[in-house]
Symmetry: C2
Subunit: 387 residues, 2 copies
């Protein structure tokens, strides 16, 4: 036998820009970024796909984008802004995926062109996937418009669509060419979406940064009530911690089994699914974090004062900490808790759950005690009933 060994590294690099009113003619950031991508001798194309929900709040945006792009030399807008529906359900819509592939084909968008997606996490995931697999990878710029996408998914490296009810079953790891977080979009969010996005900031503070948690406690009231400067600070710090995790942990494309950013997520994913996504992702994560924090305190891993601070912060942020679907049914574990087994399969056979040893400090466990989980649920339920 003979053997050849292949070995190489691929470098990925992208900027995440924090700005306001990105498409005002005086705003240089997108224009400057594109100028850095110009190739001598030919005109690159830009295809803009925007979330209907965003356009309904910002009806002048398509025209503004067309005006802005018209004066970027070396680039041309390949088509008028294409508007698609938003929200999680678009990730179930295979026809929409193919419509995007058709659009990329129809307008001759190649591997040197840019697809720009403007919208919430679902639109970014769908458009990102379509771009990632068209021509084996068209360059992709993300303009996230929600708190959740600006501080978490939008600055990361994943995309995907749902398939036969399985969340993100089809997808890739594909870093964006650039990300532009425009805080003006946050001002037109429903208050529930605004608050829901804060859950990921609480999560990342809990597993990585105790002083950020302290800051969240101090700013809980303005954050819950829609204060933009507080939110801008939150989004920046949360995005920074998220990006450090992806870039610094040595496994950006998750080839190992460790997923320490998934705190509170095993039950959250199941809750979202069981409620047909009527529960927002951040709301479900808030519930999941409350359950796993109280569970860790019952286990003796986390001190009970810390668990109480966590649940209290979530409540101050007006995020839910409990859901009836967590309760035992006729003496059997709830459907959510039964979901642990599915999560084990998703991870490749060995359960890995992120729990807290302290605020700002996470660890991993490979077993969950179902009786203790039920006790944690009961504990939160009684708090909830008394609040």
């Amino acid at each position: 036998m003979q053997q050849l060994q292949q070995s190489f590294s691929v470098n990925y690099s992208y900027g995440v820009f924090f700005t306001k009113h990105l498409f005002e003619l005086t705003n240089p950031y997108l224009r400057d970024f594109l100028a850095s991508q110009v190739a001598p001798g030919y005109t690159k194309k830009i295809l803009v796909i925007a979330d209907e929900g965003v356009i309904s709040k910002h009806p002048a945006l398509p025209e503004q984008i067309e005006t802005y792009c018209a004066i970027i030399s070396g680039f041309q807008l390949a088509a008028p802004v294409i508007i698609i529906p938003g929200g999680e359900s678009v990730k179930n819509d295979e026809a929409l995926f193919y419509k995007l592939a058709d659009t990329i084909d129809q307008y001759g968008i190649d591997r040197h062109s840019f697809v720009i997606a403007i919208g919430g996490g679902a639109v970014l995931d769908l458009v990102g996937f379509a771009a990632a697999v068209s021509h084996r990878g068209v360059r992709h710029i993300r303009i996230p418009t929600t708190v959740l996408s600006q501080n978490d998914s939008g600055v990361g490296v994943k995309n995907g669509i749902n398939y036969k009810g399985k969340k993100n079953f089809l997808g890739t790891f594909a870093p964006p060419a650039a990300v532009f977080n425009d805080s003006h979009f946050l001002t037109t969010l429903d208050i529930e979406d605004w608050r829901s996005g804060i859950a990921e900031a609480v999560k990342v503070a809990l597993i990585k940064d105790a002083s950020f948690f302290d800051w969240l406690e101090m700013n809980a009231l303005p954050l819950a009530e829609g204060n933009l400067p507080a939110m801008e600070t939150l989004v920046y710090r949360c995005a920074e911690l998220h990006m450090q995790h992806i870039g610094g942990a040595g496994d950006p494309f998750e080839s190992g089994s460790s997923r320490p950013l998934d705190f509170g997520h095993w039950s959250a994913h199941k809750l979202e699914q069981l409620t047909n996504f009527s529960l927002r992702h951040g709301e479900a994560v808030s519930i999941g974090m409350a359950v796993d924090s109280v569970y860790a305190s019952l286990l003796g891993m986390l001190d009970s004062t810390a668990a109480s601070r966590i649940v209290r912060l979530l409540e101050q942020l007006q995020l839910p900490v409990y859901h009836p679907l967590l309760e035992m049914q006729d003496g059997m574990p709830s459907a959510v808790i039964k979901g642990l087994q599915e999560f084990r399969e998703h991870l490749g056979g060995r359960l890995t759950i992120c729990l807290l040893k302290a605020i700002g400090q996470a660890t991993e466990v490979h077993e969950m005690d179902v009786a203790l989980l039920n006790k944690a649920v009961e504990n939160i339920k009684s708090r909830y009933a008394n609040s």
Copy 2:
């Protein structure tokens, strides 16, 4: 404005093993590889997808695979060997792609399991794509069974399917976990498929390695007539050069516009498409190389003796060097030559064509002289008519 910069590298590494009778119980290579991938505490799954054409020539293979896999500790075969059709047309079959995704889902194949594909390049491309996008990337082992896939596509990093008639429109760059080249599969190929695979070896010799070209000239007769030891030498050297190019050129996922492995390919792709793939890929590449070699000699870039040696070697290998679709139609450039424009778009607006300065030495040009191309075609046609 604030800005965060993300930057990281991802390391990829995989072995390409050259062996014979991979699934005989005494053959340790696949077993040893899998043993190196065992994780303590749980059993990983293996899902085997095989090309119908291969199974028809090797009907005992599924049983042999099941016996072989049964004794690998830490692994289990998730399902009996799954047999799918082979050949380029499977890449047009979206339903088959979804069937593979369903199979991966149904048998609980996760990111730590292995999907093994056995077959020609089309099956490897299809299965590789399905694995690459399921769960954002299931590990994938390739067992190429044709000369072309063993010496070229199977040892590389691309996968893909056709979409609405566009070759490889949907796909990704996703390095395999390992590749096993079993030369016994080559012994049951049709002689046309055997010869067609040699074209990629001629190509890589022409652009990278003059002494390999000399070796091909000396061994043209045994190679054309089905001599296995000669073919094993060819496959190894061609795979090695191909892998060096991918790993050594600094752009394994082709983010730049340079594609120097594509010598002879701009017209080959178009010829394949225009003949509905009745022309084999290697046959089309052979024609493409003949045209571009004669073109380069007419341009004064390549000396005419070298161009003649190239055309003669292809003829000795019993590969075609001419096709009527190259000819001008009513004084207009042929459909193949008109395809230059499409190729320009595919590359992102700027034409980049690989031409030869000498045997073993390639360069890039950004323009093609259509009149001179027609002259090259005429030149080959007259040679062809006289031969």
